[in-house]
Symmetry: C2
Subunit: 455 residues, 2 copies
């Protein structure tokens, strides 16, 4: 073992994994990046002080660090760098709920579902709900500014972050913001760090705003023979009502979910639209949404009993793993402004046909945030290449429609090649200047968002 | 006239004011900073291109630029710098409402009230509502991340900004973000620029999210003989209900407003609490809030007829100008976590007594964001000095309570001396590194938030 590694292991006893057995499980997130490097070591700190120790060691030896939450990222933001350190926050799971201020103070490794449960025990609610909420960490949610189903009404992760403690590239721990609802003292550094995917610092503590638990969501479900009709109905709902959920699944996703759950979903439908309202008195908006859906030629539309609506919402959350049963996925996260949803769906169908690949389509439709899922057999080299090509075309399509290559999963390493096409070279340069000012040696998650100068 | 100035006037014909008559009205914002400098010139651009021309001229000649909206700032963020340029956006007032995407595209000089009116014409609503909404500009709101009364439920300006066009210190115009509800491509630069008080760039176009108009707010009004009881009632409401408005006025503010409006307010009360709910069915929460208020020993509490409640809300909005009738103001903007509101109010009363000055106290109480108004006679040199001392003590008090020196007005030039005490030297350094990376010559609003290296 090198002196360097011995120094790390002696500084963090019991918190360093080495060798293939130790590091292999930490090389990739759910994006399964085929180009993942082999890290020198994995550190599993329990505290801010231990994170500082690891970062100071890395800074001293110019070793890149890839921070990692629960490893559920879908853009390769936690892909290991060759010869680098992976810093997993999985042992940092403390949570304190303060009912008097309606806030939670959490360590980054806490799972989203664990926070929701702790808040619920105190009669409170943490809204952001990525479909992966049972397995993803709050730190990862902060890193990507994660969204979910409730965001159409309740906003994204950034809307709940009041204060952060971060360890900077030089090992200093800095407190950003205070546990206050309104605070504009100095630059909005907290907001800058949310969504920075571990490139500016490592988040070690998070203060989050909680809300009172709203009434349960009541549902309207509509089935369409035409995806175009469904998309137009969604656009009309989105500009006239304020639903708490507005989701979309296409035929491929419906069938994949039905294969798992056997709910009796309509396998022949082109599209399913699931709309919800959680107002104290939801009937006005449920009726308004039903009326809009009826105007757009659905094959059926109704307000189901609570349990049936909840089951379809559960099915929607299960869509990604259900489609994954059919093959390896390239999971896009493209977004457009909502009136352009129909064009996006049409464009995705063209891309699937042109590249002869299967693309399932699900969407947080009320946000214009969609997940085309390119399904392929990794053993079929030609199909894998066509899938890769289609994945790139999805991003080019979204950019051409004035949209985004990522609505909630982050840029990571996989989408970086398309970032300049979306944001332009001047905005990219602005980000790079901030990155360089905060991490001059480029040790924090190199290759994510920004090009790795060393590679 | 200097060659330098002639060059500017020829590049921006009809858009440059010089001489005392031209520049005097642009030397100060509403903070009336006694140390305001005499600017070389004022420019009144109409377009992004004209802003770029002015910034390029300033960069070439190393002339500092102070950007300015409607001049209603309360922290001296638009105080002119001696020999510098003031850039007023007052001629940049275009507004376009897109009902299909529920967004507004506006130039920064548009008044908040003008945006609200344009949105209302399209059946939509722009929530952020500083008490000064009739006279303050959207650009100024962006600069300070302005709040208001509705923020307790609907959030602050930052929550509505989807995309910005900014002119950087080198004159480049950069688009940050896209008109999308969810977009996490690259660093959150849009969020960083909101609240940056003109120190990182000059905002020239803003894309804002709009909401459907909610039902009118219904009211509960409570009068208290003890400010402490009122503060405890507010803390209980804030952690159990989700009001759309939760405001506080003390005896001095009540009397100042009553002098103007003659509404029949209770001049003897120690405190007035105004709580509102705008749910489709507001009765549940109104009753819940009334029950909490009744538990905290009010002298009276009731749900007034709509017009009476609206009149008290109007009175609350008028509190600052009404107190200003009594003398010059030093207007604080300190915030604490809501359970500490009673301690803050007690501390403010002590500061008033110790310094023998009058301090009126109003608050967006549901956010913990308060405005102690130190009233003094500027002709009385001793009282003015005591007022200045009390103003500083208010900030030290808030910091000591874990709070903030500014909840919604910004740091400007007036609060900069206290900023390090709140955020700490490491966070200040982090901000300074970003400032230096984006404005290496320090020409953008020097002395605001950051120390002026040149002074």
């Amino acid at each position: 073992m090198s002196d360097m590694l011995a120094e790390l292991m002696s500084a963090l006893p019991g918190a360093v994994l080495t060798g293939a057995d130790g590091t292999e499980p930490y090389r990739r997130d759910r994006a399964l990046d085929p180009d993942a490097g082999v890290p020198l070591a994995v550190v599993l700190p329990r505290s801010t002080a231990e994170v500082q120790t690891a970062v100071r060691w890395a800074a001293r030896h110019h070793v890149p660090i890839v921070p990692r939450g629960a490893g559920t990222g879908l853009s390769g933001g936690a892909t290991a760098v060759h010869g680098g350190l992976v810093l997993s926050t999985e042992r940092m799971r403390d949570v304190t709920i303060d009912t008097a201020t309606r806030m939670a103070i959490v360590q980054p490794g806490l799972l989203n579902a664990e926070l929701k449960a702790a808040a619920a025990d105190a009669g409170l609610w943490y809204p952001p709900d990525p479909a992966s909420f049972e397995i993803c960490s709050i730190g990862g949610n902060i890193a990507t500014n994660a969204g979910g189903l409730c965001c159409v009404k309740y906003g994204v992760t950034a809307d709940y972050v009041l204060s952060l403690e971060v360890v900077l590239a030089d090992g200093r721990a800095v407190r950003l913001g205070r546990p206050l609802i309104k605070d504009v003292a100095g630059l909005s550094l907290t907001s800058l760090f949310v969504g920075s995917e571990g490139t500016l610092g490592i988040v070690t503590e998070i203060t989050l705003r909680l809300l009172p638990t709203p009434p349960p969501t009541r549902w309207v479900v509509a089935w369409f023979d035409s995806s175009d009709d469904a998309a137009r109905a969604i656009a009309e709902i989105a500009c006239t009502v304020r639903p708490s959920v507005l989701e979309y699944m296409d035929r491929i996703a419906i069938n994949a979910v039905e294969d798992r759950l056997h709910l009796g979903l309509d396998r022949g439908a082109a599209a399913l639209v699931l709309a919800g309202c959680d107002d104290v008195d939801p009937q006005r908006d449920l009726n308004a949404m039903q009326a809009v859906l009826e105007r757009h030629d659905p094959s059926s539309v109704h307000q189901p009993p609570q349990a049936d609506g909840d089951a379809i919402a559960y099915a929607r959350r299960l869509a990604i793993p259900a489609v994954e049963d059919k093959g390896r996925l390239l999971l896009a996260d493209v977004g457009v402004s909502i009136p352009r949803l129909a064009e996006l769906i049409g464009g995705v169908e063209e891309i699937a046909a042109r590249n002869d690949v299967t693309i399932a389509f699900i969407a947080h439709a009320g946000d214009g945030n969609t997940h085309p899922l390119v399904v392929f057999d990794p053993a079929d080299v030609d199909e894998a290449a066509r899938a890769e090509h289609a994945y790139g075309e999805l991003m080019t399509l979204a950019i051409g429609l004035g949209g985004t290559i990522t609505g909630e999963h982050g840029v990571g390493k996989l989408k970086r090649p398309w970032l300049a096409d979306q944001v332009g070279h001047d905005a990219l340069d602005l980000g790079q200047r901030i990155k360089t000012a905060l991490d001059p040696d480029g040790i924090l998650n190199p290759g994510t968002i920004f090009e790795d100068d060393h590679s």
